[in-house]
Symmetry: C2
Subunit: 456 residues, 2 copies
């Protein structure tokens, strides 16, 4: 029987999309150079039972299943597979329950990060993970890729906030992992096995996320440098000092110019790099933290330090930083790398990226979460020119290679998808690959869930 | 061939123990009522290659392997299996490398928690996980059980600090998980799968642990209550207030009396419960935090609040709390429960434990990490009296049942081992059990690693 007919036997009419025009928009996430097929159908699940039913049909017919959130991913993990099913979670978009005393929220996966963050803020609570894409990425996608963000440097990443999950397994059964309590060690940490598995082990249909009391309004400063490498050295000094920052970001001159053009901002055009630092400790302590960072930057050779007089000025600086990647996209096609290196090697890494850009002959804008060593060197090129496209790929790969050489990882927060599958094998080695395959086989013996993604 | 002879072919003489007298001391951890066999041999590994060689011999001969740290566990996970091998990691006791800028330490598993903590403190760094047993538990055991401790309420548990592991797998291969960087999402989170798996999936032979800048000297207060349930209500108020504490502990009257007797301390003998709170925010902020907590306790009905004038007084209060379990052990045999409940249910939980103690007719001393809802109701009894022993087991089980009823977990930090295996099945349900078995089968197809532990 045709898959669409079979799906319509077990699911409401409106849940099953088969119209080619509508399906087209469910084919790709935001990764470049990642192939995508045309799926046979898209299931717009409205409840867990829909996901279950669709997975069972896929198992019955031996079709691959791609779970999909808001398609804001940068590694092709959500790209459709030819002739398979896409199960979109975008309509499962309700925040189910907020528990102010126990400080957690129960949510469906389709809720956007910013929507959830604002909902809990109304109860005086704080959900820290804040990817730059927070206005258009979903919590389910954040869970699938273990997203980071700007405030990781103080508060950690998505996985640090996941207490419990509901997961539809490859056999259609529903697994509940984790707990509602702050601590718990009852059995294997299945929760964190599913977080970051990019839909290859199960489909997350509900999550219980830990919250914190709302942070203080941050104090902000920016420091300008005439060399990005010098800015990298300042970061090392800041980390070494032990000062507690809630944010420490970097943008290089290429990115500053792109943001000025895109956002009509008035960032200092002659700087080779800008660091932005925030402390949300509150009160006098935050003022002291920021003053200390400004001094460290000056000592490291900053040409100027600007301490924001009011929170709005700080917000504006953050807006500039968040706009970095989109601004670079205005200059051409982009390939966004996501290397994380030990913070002591940041200056070496930035120098290496600059060298690669010159040697390969491409433009690379460097932005990143400097405080935790997670950098997004972004190769900008003209995709219609095959020579430029080839050079972009070369630079993209060389940036990962230098990251590994410096003791880092090929991905700090964007994930593997299809984009970095071969590089994952280089990073984790043959025993690591074997263990990945064993676990994939154990949880998805028929290889139905997002096949061809993550596992080399 | 005899296992001891076979081991001596591949390992140095001094590494293989077969003398029955010496073996005897490697049979048990500190759990009560957990059976242990007599192993055929104990391998005192001094390097990873020894662990590998021993695992390969076990695979060849089809013998079970029990990895062992300092045998301070409370669930029988480290108990020997009749005729099998024990691989003790206690001689792999070197802190290998401290990286002050990147804020991590590389360590062997046999290092005691307190030794590691003091080693990194010399570099101005802080390893937060601090089980009460920190002076006599090993980092490897902490990793295997995902240990908590007193400062979890602010800093989280062991798994939150594990960046990378070296693991000897069931097939004798060496797996390296994780990374040296702050962030990373390259592949499945294997690191956290091994943490807390109690030696059933692999043997941890090296770990890279994240560190933090040293905290400020804490400010301390204690509040006294004429009812443990009222103290539980005060905890809920404190959590709801959002005040940031680095420690929030509870001891009931039974435990206070036991500590007074054991440590010759002068804790207030007529209190039914005492809360101890600390803030390590430093300076004026910490003083304000502690004053706020004192006020909340008074409002909730505390009979007295004592704010420690100097750090030494605070240390003394902490010493009293850390001595709680050992002090209760002086009164008889103990069964230490480890239930964690949502913090909003703490008062209900304490009331439930008091009811169980009366109904079953046993003594239960309540101590616990109140701030994160992780309680250690400790049943004290005369093990030579079969009636009392049966009652103790009944009370122990009923305490777990009430924890589950209140939305909690049967173990917050001590683990499953053999003690709670049947209860794990109740907590995670049949699908959860199936997934545990699949993962165990995937990583240890011959069932060699700590068989009979954890997985129901």
């Amino acid at each position: 029987m045709d898959v669409v007919d079979r799906l319509r036997q077990v699911l409401p009419e409106s849940v099953v999309l088969s119209d080619p025009d509508r399906i087209e928009s469910y084919r790709y996430d935001r990764a470049m150079f990642c192939p995508a097929g045309v799926p046979a159908a898209v299931v717009l699940a409205r409840e867990t039972a829909h996901v279950q039913a669709a997975v069972r049909v896929a198992a019955e017919l031996g079709l691959p299943v791609v779970p999909q959130g808001a398609r804001s991913g940068l590694s092709g993990a959500a790209n459709a597979i030819e002739g398979g099913l896409v199960i979109s979670l975008e309509k499962m978009d309700q925040v189910l329950r907020i528990e102010p005393v126990d400080q957690y929220v129960v949510t469906q996966p389709g809720v956007f990060n910013a929507v959830l963050s604002r909902a809990v803020a109304e109860h005086g609570l704080f959900y820290p993970p804040d990817p730059s894409s927070w206005e258009f990425c979903s919590i389910g996608g954040n869970l699938a890729t273990n997203s980071g963000g700007l405030c990781c440097v103080k508060y950690g990443v998505t996985t640090d906030y996941v207490l419990a999950l509901e997961v539809v397994l490859a056999n259609g059964e529903i697994l509940r992992t984790g707990r509602n309590t702050v601590k718990g060690v009852a059995g294997y940490d299945l929760t964190r096995l599913f977080v970051g598995s990019e839909g290859t082990l199960g489909i997350i249909t509900e999550a219980t996320l830990a919250l914190r009391p709302q942070a203080q309004r941050p104090h902000t400063m920016a420091a300008l440098f005439d060399s990005a490498v010098t800015a990298g050295e300042a970061i090392v000094d800041i980390v070494r000092s032990g000062v507690s920052l809630s944010l420490l970001e970097i943008m290089d001159g290429t990115t500053i110019a792109a943001v000025n053009a895109y956002k009509r901002m008035d960032l200092p055009a002659d700087a080779a790099a800008m660091l932005i630092a925030q402390s949300d400790t509150g009160g006098e302590a935050a003022i002291q933290d920021i003053a200390k960072v400004a001094q460290l930057c000056t000592d490291a050779g900053a040409t100027d330090c600007i301490v924001a007089d009011d929170p709005l000025e700080g917000d504006l600086l953050l807006e500039a930083r968040r706009a970095g990647l989109v601004a670079l996209e205005q200059l051409g096609t982009t390939m966004i790398d996501d290397v994380c290196v030990p913070r002591s090697r940041l200056a070496d890494f930035i120098a290496g990226v600059e060298r690669i850009a010159v040697e390969v002959g491409v433009t690379v804008g460097v932005v990143g979460h400097a405080g935790d060593g997670n950098m997004h060197p972004t190769v900008v090129f003209d995709a219609t020119d095959p020579l430029q496209a080839a050079r972009a790929q070369t630079a993209f790969d060389q940036i990962m290679a230098i990251g590994l050489e410096l003791g880092g990882t090929i991905t700090g927060e964007h994930g593997i998808g299809v984009l970095k599958k071969q590089w994952l094998a280089k990073e984790i080695g043959p025993v690591g690959v074997d263990v990945h395959r064993s676990i994939k086989q154990a949880l998805d013996p028929l290889g139905l869930l997002n096949p061809g993604k993550v596992v080399p």
